[in-house]
């Protein structure tokens, strides 16, 4: 699965994209965040403020309860501040 990070999530994780093999037991967006957070302190730090993390699956906004459903790309970012 392709992962992408933006703004301060990107800065805290220290990269803007990576490809990971997600275990079948990780079925939702929330579980994916938990699984990444367990990898090392950079991820744990980036995802610590769980409510501030917005997620898109295949470039569409989803809630943390959303199933991954075979999505090819997940993106993590803070609340948007464009416009």
């Amino acid at each position: 699965m392709q992962l992408r990070y933006f703004a301060w999530v990107r800065e805290r994780i220290g990269r803007d994209a990576e490809t990971v093999e997600v275990p079948d037991t990780v079925a939702t967006v929330g579980a994916l965040i938990d699984w990444l957070s367990a990898r090392d302190e950079a991820y744990a730090g980036a995802f610590a403020e769980r409510d501030a993390i917005k997620v898109a699956l295949d470039q569409e906004h989803v809630d943390h309860e959303a199933p991954l459903n075979g999505a090819r790309e997940a993106a993590f970012f803070p609340p948007m501040t464009g416009g």
Binding site: F6, W8, H61, A75, T81, G83
Partner: protein
């Protein structure tokens, strides 16, 4: 999270032709006059054109620039979804949204929305709606660069912007 009613689910309100929707994400500046003119010419029954231009403020001299990061692909897709939503809600003939990314100095343009319609209420509401949702749903993030040389960090999302977008939920 607030979800706009999707264009696909909205009942068609009449047999009007589909609105001309244009979405562009770009580094370079845009030409407001040309975009207004383009939508004014979508038909001789266009009676109202509303434009919104968002500019980089200097925050009382504190800022040297804003840096706009975006999510390529999703930015276009999400603004396109919001624009189709607007076109399903109001009888508009044309809707244009252009959002810049990269480094933008105070006084420079950041975003442009233009809505054209037969009537002024639809044009005002569609432009206002598009801006509210663009602020809260389009994947852009602003980082401040300070005049004293430092970074002011990432701009926080404003609660007022979320409330503004919530106005449109029915």
């Amino acid at each position: 999270m607030t979800h706009a009613k999707s264009a696909e689910n909205a009942a068609p309100q009449d047999d009007r032709p589909p609105a001309a929707i244009t979405v562009r994400i770009q580094l370079e500046d845009f030409d407001t006059a040309r975009e207004i003119e383009r939508l004014s010419e979508t038909g001789a029954n266009v009676g109202a054109v509303v434009s919104f231009t968002g500019l980089c403020r200097d925050e009382n001299g504190r800022l040297s620039a804003l840096e706009l990061e975006h999510y390529p692909g999703m930015a276009e897709a999400e603004i396109g979804r919001i624009a189709r939503d607007a076109a399903a809600r109001w009888p508009i003939t044309g809707l244009t949204a252009i959002h810049r990314h990269g480094r933008i100095a105070p006084g420079e343009n950041i975003v442009l929305v233009v809505a054209a319609s037969r009537h002024r209420a639809a044009a005002f509401q569609a432009a206002d709606f598009l801006m509210d949702y663009l602020k809260t749903r389009a994947p852009f993030w602003k980082k401040e660069h300070l005049r004293d040389g430092g970074s002011g960090g990432w701009v926080d999302a404003r609660e007022a912007d979320t409330r503004a977008a919530d106005r449109w939920s029915r």
